[in-house]
């Protein structure tokens, strides 16, 4: 199922990235906020809007959202990016960030230079959203994608 990104800017410091299927329906989305003055951007909650996707399809959607968000950050001239990951989302966040992040009261805070994390993501995922190379945490990532992303939110 090919997904196409669609980016809107509802306010001067906010962007919403939506992934649409061939029919134009929204499959997944994320809100990003940023400051060009501070050269910093933050990735919000990754949401899968389409019910009935397999865990693998959900992971693909989440990975594509992150790839698009990092591309947008680069386009905006940002140099640092951050996100907070809930306990369920930590395996995916670690995999994509290429770092452990910092423990923060049961969540983990990932703050990185854009160039570093984008290079990591582009080299460890495919343009279709697949994670390259089997890893021990693949099952945890898929399970988290199945459990943590609630289409009702």
């Amino acid at each position: 199922m090919p997904l196409t990104p669609d980016i809107t800017h509802p306010s001067p410091h906010t962007a919403v990235i939506r992934l649409r299927d061939g029919a134009g329906d929204v499959i997944a989305d994320v809100t990003c906020v940023y400051s060009r003055a501070a050269a910093t951007g933050a990735l919000g909650e990754l949401r899968v809007r389409r019910a009935g996707l397999t865990a693998r399809e959900r992971v693909r959607a989440l990975v594509l959202l992150v790839r698009e968000a990092l591309a947008l950050a680069d386009h905006l001239g940002l140099t640092r990016v951050l996100t907070e990951a809930s306990a369920e989302a930590v395996p995916l966040a670690r995999r994509l960030a290429g770092s452990d992040g910092a423990e923060a009261g049961g969540r983990r805070l990932f703050l990185a230079e854009l160039a570093t994390v984008r290079t990591h993501v582009l080299t460890t995922t495919t343009p279709a959203g697949d994670l390259t190379g089997a890893r021990d945490d693949d099952a945890a990532i898929e399970e988290a994608a199945r459990a943590a992303v609630d289409v009702r939110r």
């Binding site: 400051s35 933050a42 919000g44």
Partner: protein, 243 residues
């Protein structure tokens, strides 16, 4: 004039959306609209002890006269428009515990009267403008230090919150607040040191082993052991000089 700098010995932020989420060692002020559990309204709290160990200079003493005080902050991330204002208040709960407090509790089992932290006066709140500079200096903290010295055993407890916690756009700044970081929130205090009055100045001995005792001296209450030791030391010095 001499200055002393005190680093925070307790830091955390509290979150009005995920109200039990309040990690120690982090400072975050402002509002984020990021969807679901990632949206937040955050305030930050910190404690300082101006009678305790200073990272620069020396601990203050009750006899010091403080002439100025500034809060030093090191921003880490910022999002949204620049130039917004935040308010610094005194935390009214002396036993606030950064390790267990959250939006609704000031310590384990103890509820804030008002969720989000109880603020008290004096001193009058201070308004700061969020900055993206590598180090932000917030002047006007004198009232917090003098209040702490006079009434709170030197403990300065601060709460920082955005003036507008419902902005149209995500607006926040986070600061380095790890309790092991030299860049965590710091209070820089300028003061005039008031030396304790040496006893010898009251009635300097003019002859070895003699000392005039006035009626006022005789009526004075007993001195503390420390002052008595100072007196002995002063007399010993005078004796050495006479020798």
């Amino acid at each position: 004039m001499p200055q002393s700098t005190f680093a925070a010995d307790g830091t955390q932020f509290i979150d009005g959306v995920s109200q039990s989420y309040a990690p120690a060692g982090f400072w975050w002020v402002g509002t984020g609209y990021l969807g679901g559990s990632k949206s937040f309204v955050r305030r930050s709290l910190a404690s300082f002890d101006v009678y305790g160990r200073a990272v620069a200079g020396r601990p203050l003493t009750p006899s010091d006269t403080v002439t100025a005080a500034e809060l030093l902050l090191s921003p880490v991330t910022a999002v949204g428009p620049a130039g917004w204002s935040a308010t610094i208040d005194r935390v009214a709960r002396a036993d606030w515990d950064y390790a267990s407090a959250d939006w609704t509790h000031y310590k384990a089992g103890g509820l804030w009267t008002t969720p989000g932290g109880d603020a008290g006066t004096p001193p009058a709140p201070v308004t700061m403008t969020a900055s993206l500079a590598s180090e932000q200096v917030v002047p006007g903290m004198l009232g917090f230090v003098t209040d702490a010295m006079a009434l709170r055993s030197g403990r300065v407890l601060l709460r920082v919150r955005a003036v507008n916690e419902a902005p149209a756009d995500s607006t926040w700044v986070s600061y380095d607040a790890a309790l092991t970081s030299p860049a965590r929130p710091r209070l820089r205090v300028t003061y005039v040191a008031t030396e304790p009055s040496p006893i010898a100045h009251e009635a300097p001995p003019t002859m070895r082993g003699t000392r005039a005792v006035s009626a006022a001296d005789a009526a004075r209450p007993a001195r503390s052991a420390d002052v008595a030791r100072t007196s002995v030391a002063a007399l010993s010095r005078d004796e050495a000089r006479a020798d």
